[in-house]
Symmetry: C2
Subunit: 202 residues, 2 copies
């Protein structure tokens, strides 16, 4: 089921825009992310642990996408992708979307029971229930893509669920634990994000 932003907002009024100059904060703590892409009629979502902020202004991100992935082909075709910050309550979805290739299972998204919606103006399959969404325009760099599997994107829109990110800050320490980001180590073993701690006390 694909919804545009208006419909998504009706269903979830907590989805709020994030100032692009603060979009890096959505990734700064190093969460495992979901990568979405669509080209023509083909849509896919995959899990990636190797995503990172790359520049503050204009906001840019990087993500490593293996040549074996269908999502990579869709991004090369459309020139757009999205990074999303999933939550602990989505961990089985995160694991499934990172374990199954759409090349092997064309109905991967259905088989993983992936709840999707659209932001108005972007032909990208966004995952419902995430904590944050970054919509990115690919900056084509053939060397990085071919040699390093590294894809660079300019963030053109960013959103977060205000129950866990608002006013430019994460509230993992106040939100229900089910909102915590997940950080993959290997083989289905993850850590959640933990406690808030401030430096500069001295």
């Amino acid at each position: 089921m694909l919804l545009n932003l208006n419909m998504a907002e009706l269903l979830n009024p907590h989805i709020q825009p994030v100032e692009l100059a603060k979009a890096y904060r959505l990734l700064n703590h190093g969460p495992t992310v979901l990568v979405s892409a669509q080209h023509e009629q083909e849509a896919n979502v995959m899990t990636a642990a190797w995503a990172c902020a790359l520049e503050l202004v204009p906001a840019k991100v990087s993500v490593v996408l293996d040549k074996s992935t269908k999502t990579r082909k869709l991004i090369e075709g459309s020139g757009y992708f999205a990074l999303q910050v999933p939550t602990l309550k989505q961990i089985e979805l995160v694991q499934a979307l990172g374990s199954i290739s759409q090349f092997d299972d064309p109905a991967k998204l259905e088989h993983c029971h992936t709840p999707l919606f659209h932001f108005d103006g972007f032909n990208l399959p966004m995952v419902e229930g995430c904590a944050a969404w970054l919509i990115c325009e690919l900056i084509p760099e053939p060397h990085n893509q071919q040699v390093h599997d590294l894809f660079i994107g300019k963030v053109v829109a960013a959103y977060a669920d205000d129950r866990v990110f608002r006013d430019g800050h994460w509230y993992y320490h106040e939100a229900d634990p089910s909102w915590k980001s997940v950080h993959h180590v290997a083989g289905g073993h993850y850590y959640t994000i933990g406690d808030a701690v401030d430096a500069n006390k001295s």
Copy 2:
């Protein structure tokens, strides 16, 4: 005070080599890292949140280093750097090393009370008390370095403290909480890594 590995091992027998094929696991959960570099007689350490694994075998990493940093100049001079995974008990050091530039304070490392040692064979100032250390040979890429401030390195040696990482796995969930990695969001606000959670239960 700089010690070689033999001396370091005498002081800390918990420092153990990590198989290079598993070195990515040291960074996979997205911790904020310390970046070390030395060129001729000049040594520095800085904090970076934008570091990421880039390839499994041969193990490669990426790290974003602003043109304003002294550490970047040292890496450009020597062709080597190290990424280190600091711990909660080092959070004030992490914050200080990320707030002060050696261009402004040539005695930054002393003023930050940075405890250093050397691994034998590498002329790099390593920070005592970290959970892991990755020694990297710069893969020179002028475009990435100039346009994206992105530095890519091949991991040539990796070590971890076996009280928190051993047999290719993190043990944050069993170790004392002071060993937890720290994940910077912005302005001295961090989250620690949290609880272990496994997917694939279904």
